[in-house]
């Protein structure tokens, strides 16, 4: 049945792990050590020795290269290494998909998708650096004070809200749901730091239309996911989480300079989501819980619409706090707290949370969750999205 060339159901997540998550600058460990700890935790979760790993996939020009990791983890042989090019956190789900592809192709047997990011050690994403002359695309933006990621993407949100009459209340609901979920998640950096609607309303503008709580955190941490073939996964554990679909991409001229992408007011997910659901042989209504990458809440809003979880027309009605919280909401969203309130692990934490939901191990468990979606990097030139599920979802 189906297409022999798909990854659907042929690969499973056998282990997930993360370092302790820190506010930026507060990690006692350097970035590479955070990553080793995350990978070791994922191997322990999978019940494998680190030496069984034979491949690595990452994204966003991660600084910790596979040969160094292979030596430090005692790999017998590094058979496969892969980097999804740049585009911020747009590769979080894509790295998992690339790992799955390598396994299906027979190029590796046990691949780790990882991301390590110590913004304290290496510099903040939210600060804009020096004063030396710049050229190329930057020359058309930075001299005008359009520098940071928030400033890079705020105008897309302005346009989407304006074109479709969508209320900023949707963004507020997305932020409040994330902080609500983080209060049950001891891993979350914002655990014990609830957010009230009043505090959201009173928070300062970072760049209109984004307030402080519309923006992701800046953190130190690392996360890792171990993938193996479905057959080997079933030997390892009773609850393998199958990859049902994994797609990446960018629409026409998504990388055009200075906001000249052809379809401007998009999170870049329209085609990716279509291919993803076709590959998974599912539709949006089949997804029990959604982990949607928050660089900014406006990006989540656009991602949810472009994945078909709501429409431009009904977004104001669907994207409410009550609908977005587990276990009672009809569209439980970012149930670990996500990039906003758990940790900005560049989206890989959202993949891990999708896996935990399918295993029934989330701190905000959606009862009976069989299918979970994790999307990565809205609005960046290349985005990616992933659907995982249990054996029942695989059919």
């Amino acid at each position: 049945m189906g297409n022999d060339l798909t990854v659907r159901g042929k690969v499973a997540v056998v282990g997930v792990g993360e370092s302790t998550y820190y506010k930026r600058g507060q990690s006692p460990d350097p970035e590479f050590v955070l990553l080793l700890k995350a990978i070791l935790a994922a191997c322990a979760d999978a019940g494998i020795a680190p030496s069984q790993i034979d491949g690595f996939c990452s994204y966003s020009n991660d600084r910790n290269d596979p040969p160094r990791l292979a030596a430090a983890l005692g790999l017998r042989e590094l058979r496969f290494s892969n980097m999804q090019w740049t585009s911020g956190g747009g590769g979080a789900a894509g790295a998992v998909g690339n790992a799955a592809s390598a396994i299906v192709a027979g190029n590796a047997e046990c691949v780790v998708a990882f991301r390590s990011l110590a913004q304290g050690q290496f510099g903040r994403f939210g600060q804009g650096g020096g004063s030396r002359p710049i050229s190329g695309e930057y020359a058309y933006q930075i001299p005008y004070g359009k520098i940071s990621p928030a400033q890079s993407y705020a105008m897309r949100t302005t346009r989407v809200l304006w074109e479709h009459g969508i209320s900023r209340d949707t963004m507020k609901a997305i932020a409040l749901a994330a902080y609500h979920h983080a209060q049950n998640n001891p891993r979350a950096v914002m655990y014990g730091r609830p957010l009230t609607p009043e505090a959201y309303d009173e928070s300062r503008w970072i760049v209109e239309p984004y307030r402080l709580f519309d923006c992701c955190q800046e953190n130190d941490g690392a996360a890792a996911v171990v993938l193996m073939s479905a057959e080997r996964a079933r030997e390892l554990r009773v609850d393998p989480v199958y990859v049902l679909g994994a797609q990446q991409g960018g629409p026409r001229r998504s990388g055009a300079w200075a906001d000249n992408n052809t379809d401007y007011a998009t999170s870049s997910f329209k085609h990716v989501a279509e291919r993803l659901f076709a590959q998974a042989q599912l539709g949006p209504a089949d997804v029990d819980v959604v982990q949607s990458y928050e660089n900014f809440t406006g990006g989540v809003l656009m991602s949810l619409i472009e994945h078909g979880f709501c429409t431009y027309e009904n977004a104001n009605e669907v994207l409410t706090f009550d609908n977005l919280v587990a276990p009672t909401g009809r569209l439980p969203l970012n149930t670990s707290g996500g990039n906003l309130a758990e940790c900005y692990m560049h989206g890989l934490g959202l993949v891990i949370e999708a896996v935990r939901q399918i295993r029934g191990e989330s701190s905000n468990q959606v009862p009976g969750a069989k299918v979970a979606l994790a999307s990565a990097g809205p609005m960046v030139p290349v985005v990616s999205s992933l659907i995982v599920g249990n054996g029942e979802a695989l059919g």
């Binding site: 020359a139 503008w205 760049v207 401007y264």
Partner: protein
Amino acid sequence: MTERNHVLPPGLPAPAPMRDGLDAPFWAATRRHELVVQRCNGCGGWQWGPEWNCHHCLGFDIGWTEVEATGVIYSWERPWYPVHRALAEAGPYVVLLVELPHAGGVRMVGNLVGDPLQPFEIGDRVRAVFEDHDDADTPFTLVQWERIG
């Protein structure tokens, strides 16, 4: 002598033409207070930012065409939080995305001249204001925008 008619304070990186020469005609034109955009000599397609080939017909014969320095506000944002030390006292300011309907709908990023809290909307017409930075080590000119009427 400092030029205080600038939208943003001094200290941000200056734009420099690319070393491969791709966008030198644009920055040279701004010094003459002219707005130029790439246009394909083969198919007539407009494009922005500068590219080495035409993204419509894929040809390499691309020229630069002076266009009327007006446009329409396509989107905007208003930064308050300073992400660069030069901007510590600068906020809020407005960044515009300006569409040039008469040049194939290409879009340019610039600042809105004047009160950052002035009323304006997507769709408002704007005209370019060429902001000279003659005191810079290598003088340059930015393209800013002011509302028309």
